[in-house]
Symmetry: C2
Subunit: 370 residues, 2 copies
């Protein structure tokens, strides 16, 4: 049978709860399909800090590099707000992204039919919405040097006497590789890519635009490509999101735009993501899968969290890491069935009623639907 | 009578058309109220490039420094897309902002009752929306050095061989002064400020958060202050925008977030902005007023443009530059009356019908309502 290695990093807040439901799903596939998963569990974020004094131990990093796919819950919480920048929970996640070189972050924003009324947008604006944001994840202002806070004492005009610096830096190679990911993905969807930057004010945006255009002209002339300033992109996502198929953008713009896009769907608890790197010798890409939602410390430990985003992240792993498209389809169909049956975690209880169930009951229902 | 000097820069696209309607309003106040306006007209953006080879001539810059207020239409258009970065229309606007040191950009996002159904968001989410985004406008990644596109030949991993760089740079003094603007404005409104950054990944965001907090604790402890990561801010604006009163954020985040906020209202053609600098010896701030919308080259010259955003920008000038609060109120009331009467430019024609009128007819109707 096919053997896949998985590192599970539940992290903080609701991370462990939603991950427990994913484990049920993994067990089901193992018991009922010709797949074997070698699963290792480890710590990330605040949970790792509590034990190791760092948000990601070197040994965990090494395991992440060795497995076929990493599954992550969520990191962060108010308890860790006081920590120094260098050991905050987020640094664990950022280290994984950087050292695994996971340059393409895939964030689908889909509006589930059964949940369209949850959106703050009108049903007719979001029904059937299905866009994919491809966010560059290993470069830009998140990682550029120089960076830091310095004193600026010699400047009499600078009340407070400090200066904070970050560097937005992109190479043409970094832009080209994520552009290729976007074009490839578009070919399997609506064949349309919109690239977003601020080429009207930033030189790094000019380079972004030119390199995306270059990849298009030389390698993907069959895909429809357009360019949009990121501020207009934010507007257009609110105004008429269905005009988009695949959006490709940089790390920081992607952070904001993908969150806005996620919120359009009205069901943040439903949205998965995949972060992919280079394809390895075994034909599988370096990969990390995680829900789009955060650690939600306010509802942690109460059985209220929605495990679907994390379960659908595992479906993405089946598809992108293991080439198990049929299994991914089956899992996604099981989720849709459970929703159609009216089963709802707390975040999905709305005007249309539905049967309120807990995190664990949702996981069980999805396994039963499989 | 009170004398006010104004520099009018209509700019490109629909700029001249909408500005022609503002001139009617200015003439009305001059004829009917105890105010005298010394008005000068000049060029900016592509219009200036066509004549001077630069998007803002030095002589125009000098005039802008000398007047009480600058009124700008819009800049840019496809004709100028091929120009070098350094002479693109936008550079004219950015030069004005930078050299006049207009550090506080006020962008109200208000949902007009008569137009609430134009929003892509549900009426109950946006009805009565009234938020004010205060965007830092003279620093950050828009102006930070080093910047540019360089070759990066020695890097064999960099396919394409180039690198694009911009620098996000904020001093504590720059943050404190815009924070003060936000707190002052909040006191005259809902007394609530939400500051947005990415302190979880950027040191400049940490400095931003600390300095805003410092200004609050030392000078405005009576105003309610909260902090939010900008990606969450983008989400919350889509989910439940009425939770906000005043939002203060940096130049780049402000660019995206204020555009998203503007689109929530569904009536971009209605939204004004003010960009304010230091208070001069005569008690008036350096100031530039402009509509939030762009130059809309696709509809330029057809009498379709909505002049209200530009007219309401003049209302902001009456209020913030000239201390003519009553006149500003009267002008805003005239706009509301015209809308309540069902008069609609093309962008406002929707499900509720209304009487379709041209740009010029809208200007005339507002003057008549005065
Ligand atoms: C947690 C944080 C560091 C992260 C980011 O900014 O990338 C998150 O917002 C995300 O989008 O995955
Ligand atoms: C035209 C452009 C330079 C400008 C900006 O990015 O600031 C515009 O988008 C704005 O928000 O006023």
């Amino acid at each position: 049978s096919d053997r896949y290695s998985l590192l599970i990093l539940p992290g903080d807040g609701i991370g462990p709860e939603v991950m427990a439901e994913v484990v049920k799903v993994i067990d089901w596939f193992q018991a009922n399909r010709d797949m074997t998963f070698d699963v290792t569990h480890d710590l990330v974020g605040g949970a790792a800090y509590d034990v190791h004094g760092v948000p990601l131990a070197d040994a965990t990093m090494a395991k992440a590099q060795a497995v076929d796919a990493v599954l992550l819950g969520a990191v962060g919480g108010p308890k860790y707000d006081v920590l120094d920048f260098s050991v905050k929970p987020e640094r664990g996640l950022l280290r994984l992204r950087k050292e695994m070189d996971l340059f393409a972050n895939l964030r689908p924003a889909q509006c589930f039919d059964a949940l369209a009324d949850f959106s703050s947008l009108k049903r007719e604006v979001v029904a059937g919405l299905d866009i994919l944001i491809v966010r560059e994840l290993t470069s830009g202002v998140y990682f550029g040097e120089p960076r830091g806070i310095h004193s600026d004492d010699n400047n009499p005009d600078n009340e407070g006497g400090r200066v904070g610096i970050n560097t937005q830096r992109y190479t043409s190679g970094e832009i080209r590789r994520v552009a290729r990911s976007a074009f490839e993905l578009a070919r399997a969807r609506g064949n349309k890519v919109c690239s977003m930057e601020k080429a009207n004010v930033m030189e790094s945006g000019i380079l972004w635009r030119e390199e995306v255009q270059w990849v298009h002209d030389n390698e993907y002339p069959d895909v429809a490509l357009s360019h949009m300033y990121a501020d207009n992109g934010a507007m257009q996502l609110v105004r008429a999101p269905r005009q988009f198929d695949v959006i490709v953008t940089d790390n920081l713009f992607g952070d904001l735009l993908s969150d806005a896009a996620a919120m359009l769907t009205g069901s943040l608890g439903m949205l998965p993501s995949a972060s992919l790197g280079a394809v390895m010798a075994n034909g599988r890409p370096k990969a990390l899968y995680e829900p789009v939602h955060g650690s939600a410390p306010d509802i942690a430990g109460q059985g209220k969290a929605n495990p679907i985003a994390c379960i659908l992240s595992f479906a993405m792993a089946l598809r992108y890491s293991f080439g198990e498209g049929a299994a991914a389809d089956a899992l996604e169909a099981a989720v849709e069935r459970v929703l159609a049956d009216g089963l709802r975690t707390a975040d999905l209880m709305g005007p249309d009623g539905g049967t309120p169930i807990s995190t664990a009951q949702m996981g069980d229902a999805i396994v039963a639907a499989l």
